[in-house]
């Protein structure tokens, strides 16, 4: 489960995805480049569609790269995703020449700041994705396969589960959702800062999943737990800051909560 900005991402089966923040940066940097281009200003409708579709596609390709490395070449997830963790942000900065890109594009910023029926659009997106993913994990063939691969890969292989395909799909989904999250951040700020988008987001995501009760060893995916974990961590952070407690203290308190969550789960598993 990965929850940058409260957006759900899939649990790679027993793996860890360090590339989340960097993929956010790539997608986030790419979107304004497309809709600010001459072609897009000439074709605003198509331009907007492309500025959403192309970054998502690029993000998906990053996930495909991770997935192939892990599932077909047997590279350890933490190493494979480290490649984009390091290079992704570099690519994003090269794309933008390292500059802060600011823009005004109400259609695009609607993604980050718009409201629908009184609720922020990004809230609707989070809600829709949570429900979709929960349904996928519980009801679909892919979801069941995902949990079985995460829970016991050898047993899953023997039972005829297409393990490599499941893993690759999972990294593609995770990266695509990271791309979406990156675009939402950019839309919120009306600016894209390749150096900052999604920074350390992969760790927040892991923290949210752990607080929500996911097993990092794989095989358990409490989707709503992860949502609660993400909301809880964010809310707590904002509450502490709003009460005049410093950023640094907030980090320490967050860490303490993770320790508490892990400890409580130990009790529940024994």
């Amino acid at each position: 489960m990965r929850w940058p900005q409260g957006h759900p991402h899939d649990p790679p089966p027993g793996g860890i995805d360090l590339s989340v923040g960097s993929v956010m940066a790539v997608a986030g940097a790419l979107a304004p480049i497309i809709f600010l281009s001459d072609w897009a200003t000439a074709n605003p409708g198509l331009g907007l569609a492309a500025s959403i579709a192309v970054p998502l596609l690029v993000a998906a390709l990053c996930g495909l790269f991770n997935g192939v490395l892990i599932a077909l070449l047997g590279v350890q997830p933490i190493i494979a995703t480290l490649i984009f963790f390091i290079s992704g942000r570099g690519i994003a900065q090269v794309l933008t020449n390292g500059n802060l890109q600011t823009f005004t594009n109400p259609d695009f910023t609607w993604l980050g700041t718009g409201r629908l029926l009184g609720l922020p659009v990004q809230g609707w997106i989070a809600l829709a994705l949570t429900i979709t993913i929960a349904l996928v994990v519980r009801r679909s063939l892919y979801g069941r396969y995902l949990l079985s691969v995460g829970g016991n890969e050898r047993a899953a292989t023997l039972a005829g589960v297409p393990v490599a395909r499941v893993k690759i799909t999972t990294y593609v989904i995770a990266a695509t959702l990271a791309g979406l999250a990156g675009m939402i951040v950019v839309a919120q700020n009306s600016a894209s800062d390749a150096a900052r988008i999604g920074q350390l987001m992969e760790l927040d995501a892991i923290a949210a999943a752990v607080v929500g009760g996911a097993a990092l060893s794989g095989g358990r995916a409490p989707i709503f737990g992860a949502l609660l974990g993400a909301v809880f961590i964010q809310l707590m952070g904002y509450t502490l800051i709003a009460n005049g407690i410093s950023d640094e203290m907030t980090l320490i308190v967050t860490a303490a909560i993770i320790v508490l969550a892990v400890w409580l789960q130990r009790g529940a598993r024994a």
């Binding site: 063939l141 069941r144 829970g151 047993a155 023997l158 039972a159 005829g160 095989g219 358990r220």
Partner: protein, 506 residues
């Protein structure tokens, strides 16, 4: 009668309101090898985990060396002199034998550093005592399982344990290694160490143990000297039936089958090889027939099953499945072609521990339960309900995680996983190993019924009774080759052993 080293009386323990142990009693004398037997779910593991300090008891008393004690953690139990050799080894394979022997109890120099010279001396003393001749400077993982297990025992001996608990210590050893282990156990016993021996192999218990405690449904139902018991008495006590009952129906549920004549050939393997462990196997299987695969450990039985099921790539020979021209190169393809393979290794190749009974049972069937990628859960649950009833699976409900079930019930769920795909060919690798006597008979009865329906079964088993009573034909393997095929009726234990040892029918 000397005073007991350990006296556990009236131990009770419940998990989430479900009693696992209602009245556990266990008494072990100094210097005796004591067996504890019972079906899976009888409460053996619970009693032992309370003794080792992993769980706390709800009620009852534990007296250790005459004093009432309360062991609150594995460390406290170890400090008191209770050491455990687990089924899964818990040592560090990458480190040397010496490091493993002294781990956590390293001798120190005056400067507080580990005194490696003393550590080596201690290691050599222990290994020498058991007659194990290995280089203690090499990583533990470079030695076979049997040696690693002996090192684990050596470690316990070096810690001067008074009671050594062994949980299924022979499950991955071959005959010769078992004899070495038994030698070590007898030596420990001669030195006054008591041993609590947990095993499903009754032969071992009768060969090795002095006393035995029987558990059933969470209660101690008997404690006796081995010398006063017969095998049948012990099985009867475990099952809660009379010895007469069992004598009249035979020892396994596979006995008394008639062969379906003229069944169509389902599988034909000729000259298959996958490497050093499987060099040349010929095998023909017909519908409605059980063919046993016999051989000593390491003769290539499991490798044969893996090759047929598409897990290992063939380096020579062909496997032909009726109406299936394409070669089978993956388990997925094998399943699609109507094959099923129940692995001998339930834990690492069978169960998905955190998934439910239902999800585990339908894993292989799942593609057929899904339409447009969505699992038809109504149908799934109906099918699972059917199997739970038909196989007598004991679970609180089908959504219970499978890891909470006893070994026998886990095995039934896995058998259900394969029966659900209605295979033409069912490969069973040690289907009743590590399973209690009751579940064993039930599993055998299920296999028998399946064969009657026309399924072909390839049965790999180390139990002569199971093979001789169950299989129509027995293919004997030696060093990766099939050497002979014995036909029932007429196979006797002597003939089979002779064929396994010499490669020629007696």
């Amino acid at each position: 009668m000397p005073d007991a080293l350990l006296q556990m009386t009236g131990i009770t323990k419940s998990f989430g309101g479900v009693p696992a142990l209602a009245d556990g009693t266990l008494s072990i004398l100094p210097g005796e090898v004591h067996a504890i037997v019972g079906q899976n779910g009888a409460g053996k593991s619970t009693l032992i985990t309370i003794l080792t300090g992993v769980y706390r008891r709800d009620g009852g008393t534990v007296r250790w060396q005459g004093r009432e004690v309360d062991l609150r953690s594995p460390r406290e139990a170890q400090a008191a002199g209770i050491a455990t050799i687990y089924q899964e080894l818990t040592l560090v394979p990458q480190r040397t034998v010496i490091e493993n022997i002294v781990l956590g109890y390293e001798p120190k120099t005056r400067l507080g550093m580990t005194d490696w010279r003393a550590a080596e001396a201690r290691t050599r003393a222990v290994l020498g005592r058991f007659g194990i001749d290995i280089d203690p400077h090499r990583p533990l993982g470079s030695y076979p399982t049997a040696i690693q297990q002996l090192v684990a025992i050596g470690r316990a001996a070096a810690m001067e344990a008074k009671l050594l608990i062994m949980d299924e210590p022979t499950s991955s050893l071959d005959e010769r290694e078992v004899q070495v282990l038994f030698g070590v156990i007898r030596q420990l016993k001669a030195q006054g160490t008591s041993i609590l021996y947990v095993s499903h192999f009754l032969d071992e218990i009768f060969e090795l143990c002095d006393g035995v405690t029987t558990l059933r449904d969470g209660r101690t139902v008997g404690a006796a000297r081995i010398a006063d018991l017969s095998r049948l008495d012990l099985i009867a006590a475990m099952l809660g039936r009379s010895a007469e009952d069992i004598r009249s129906v035979g020892m396994t549920e596979l006995s008394g089958q008639s062969r379906a004549e003229g069944g169509a050939v389902v599988l034909e393997a000729s000259g298959i090889a996958t490497g050093r462990r499987l060099r040349k196997l010929d095998l023909t299987l017909r519908a409605g027939e059980i063919v046993g695969l016999a051989g000593l450990l390491g003769s290539g039985r499991t490798e044969a099953a893996r090759a047929i099921f598409g897990m290992d790539r063939l380096t020579a020979g062909t496997v032909r499945l009726a109406d299936q021209p394409a070669a089978i190169t993956s388990p997925r393809a094998a399943i699609a072609a109507g094959m099923a393979f129940l692995s001998e290794d339930r834990k690492t190749e069978g169960i998905i521990p955190d998934l439910s009974v239902c999800e585990n049972l339908t894993l292989a069937l799942l593609p057929r339960l899904a339409r447009m990628g969505i699992v038809d859960q109504k149908r799934e649950r109906r099918i699972v309900e059917g199997f739970i009833a038909a196989l007598g699976i004991k679970a609180a409900h089908m959504d219970q995680p499978i890891r909470q079930l006893s070994g026998g019930n886990q095995q039934k769920v896995l058998l259900g996983r394969w029966l659900a795909i209605e295979p033409r060919l069912l490969i069973l690798d040690e289907p009743t190993r590590g399973v209690d006597v009751g579940a064993k008979r039930e599993i055998q009865a299920i296999i028998k019924a399946k064969v009657k329906e026309g399924c072909a079964v390839l049965l790999i088993s180390s139990e002569f009774e199971e093979l001789i009573e169950g299989a129509h034909d027995i293919v004997v393997m030696q060093e990766g080759r099939s050497v002979t095929r014995l036909s029932n009726p007429g196979v006797t234990e002597d003939r089979l052993i002779h064929a396994m040892a010499a490669g020629a029918p007696a």
